[in-house]
Symmetry: C2
Subunit: 330 residues, 2 copies
């Protein structure tokens, strides 16, 4: 079986072979094919930019792999910011000895996901480090999006707004954990890893005030960020949180809280009360939003805090994630 | 001494602390301070984009460190493409246990270099992997530049054009190698690591047809790429190659060829015969171009090849770099 060698990162002949036999073969397009030190792209008066490195372990899991994740993560950061994702850069750090067959599967998955999400890989970079100096493969994607007339952000949030989520909570976290620990569930948990731009295009309308994808740190940490940035509090209703029974069971067994688990295909959406009903309906009509739910509301008191109302009516404070329960979740 | 912990990459409280006490402190600007999933930037009808990961070992070397290099490498890829570098993203992969003091020195160096180069860090990402899963720190920078009326690229190259280089060859490669191997020279070799956009602004004029920075693979590999892309050959005159005596001595001792060594602050510039004299003069008037030289010419015969003319008049073919002599040079 062929494996990555140090010379694949030399910038010399083997680097060029890798580019033509793998990257151009699966990802080629008129921008990538410019093959210059920088790629010239059509821009816009305002652009949106985001960057993310992916170090997930294991590389392959139910519902995806590091390649699909690297596309979705960056596409979603653009989409929740109100931008239309357009272009992605792709930078790989490979460990010497990494099987070329695995790399090919990852690149194929990237190709499928960028096609699905309607974006293009426009430039790339490959570095190779000695065996033991990296764990198999790390991927960085940086995304560029066009701006739309979508005025979203924490500054738009007001007391009285409703908090929606586009689907079930914690699937990605439990999928990775069960893969890592070899846990078996009656109904296997599949990562929700998916590009959200199509879903967001389907439900966006005036009255949508802020969107975030609750990845590392989960719903609780993301809402804490928003509460602090907007100077409001968020009151979640535990009874309304959509959690798959298998995720709930795994959490109970392992002592984990779904609200702190990573999601890779969900958006938190803060919406004005008058638009909430219609936005939720549109979400549910999209395949990625079937389990969308209204999970809480924005309040003025207790500014900067996130509170959870239990089924019996008690309230407790949800802080940001402390420590690190699930390293290398993305 | 404080060290990076897994929780610094959790997306939770410690991640936020790192952002405010380190990244915002040294790199803060109105774009970075947006603190959204994506950053909104002023764009242009055409933009230039490039990405690069840096895995250099050792992290600190004469003339720079991985942080300075990560800024220069990406700024230079934009500048040689004829763009004006504007914005950089910054994504770190850190090994658990990496000293915070070293991270701070690297971030300070990034801050100094972006300021010198006139660019801004506009968004970032930090991941942490377990001890032994990465070698200390890897950095990805993705750069965005504005397009100028600079029509440069391999398609502009014609037989008869002159080949200039903005300074001495192989300094970075020998600086890293001597640091790694503990070699001592009478005159220590310092990496040429520098942002080239100021130099290029100083010498650019109509007649400049193509620019490339000869990093991994060196001058010989970069000229091979250009020769193939432009369908011409390149004839180098060995006697005119600017090489520091200490670099020449180290190469002789170690059996290395300066033409295959990495440079991190040099540009190869292909220029029309009528503009060559003036462009060379402007280069020499800039501090980073003092040792600029005319090193060869473009020819029609032997298309796709690079030839070296020795002082005695013989010619030999210079192929692309084969294998990997100096891994993790950038």
């Amino acid at each position: 079986m062929e494996r990555i060698m140090m010379a694949h990162g030399s910038g010399g002949r083997l680097s060029h072979e890798l580019i033509s036999t793998l990257f151009q073969k699966y990802l080629g397009n008129s921008y990538l094919d410019q093959m210059n030190d920088a790629t010239v792209l059509p821009g816009q008066a305002q652009i949106a930019v985001t960057t993310d490195s992916f170090v997930i372990s294991p590389l392959f899991f139910r519902g995806g792999n590091i390649g699909k994740l690297a596309v979705c993560g960056t596409v979603n950061d653009l989409a929740v910011s109100g931008a239309i994702p357009q272009f992605l850069t792709l930078a790989l750090i490979l460990e010497e000895g990494f099987p070329l067959e695995k790399l090919e599967r990852i690149i194929q998955s990237i190709a499928g996901t960028v096609s699905h999400a309607g974006v293009k890989i426009v430039c790339g970079d490959t570095k190779v480090v000695e065996r033991g100096s990296a764990d198999q493969i790390f991927i960085n994607t940086t995304g560029i999006g066009y701006r739309m007339e979508r005025l979203v952000g924490p500054a738009q949030i007001q007391p009285g707004d409703e908090i929606l989520i586009t689907g079930t909570i914690g699937d990605h976290g439990i999928a990775i954990l069960s893969e890592r620990e070899g846990l078996e569930f009656q109904t296997p948990v599949v990562s929700d890893c998916a590009p959200l731009n199509g879903l967001i295009d389907a439900f966006y309308q005036p009255g949508v005030k802020c969107m975030r994808d609750p990845t590392r740190g989960g719903v609780a940490t993301t809402l804490n960020e928003l509460a602090q940035q907007a100077g409001v509090s968020m009151l979640l209703e535990e009874v309304n949180l959509p959690v798959l029974p298998s995720v709930e069971g795994a959490c109970a067994m392992l002592g984990l809280e779904p609200l702190y688990l990573a999601n890779e295909g969900k958006a938190l959406v803060i919406v004005s009360p008058s638009a909430a009903e219609e936005v939720l309906k549109k979400m549910k009509n999209h395949p990625l939003g079937r389990y969308a739910a209204r999970i809480g509301k924005v309040q003025a008191e207790n500014s900067g805090r996130v509170l959870l109302e239990t089924p019996l009516g008690g309230k407790r404070i949800l802080g940001m994630l402390e420590g690190e329960h699930l390293p290398r979740i993305c």
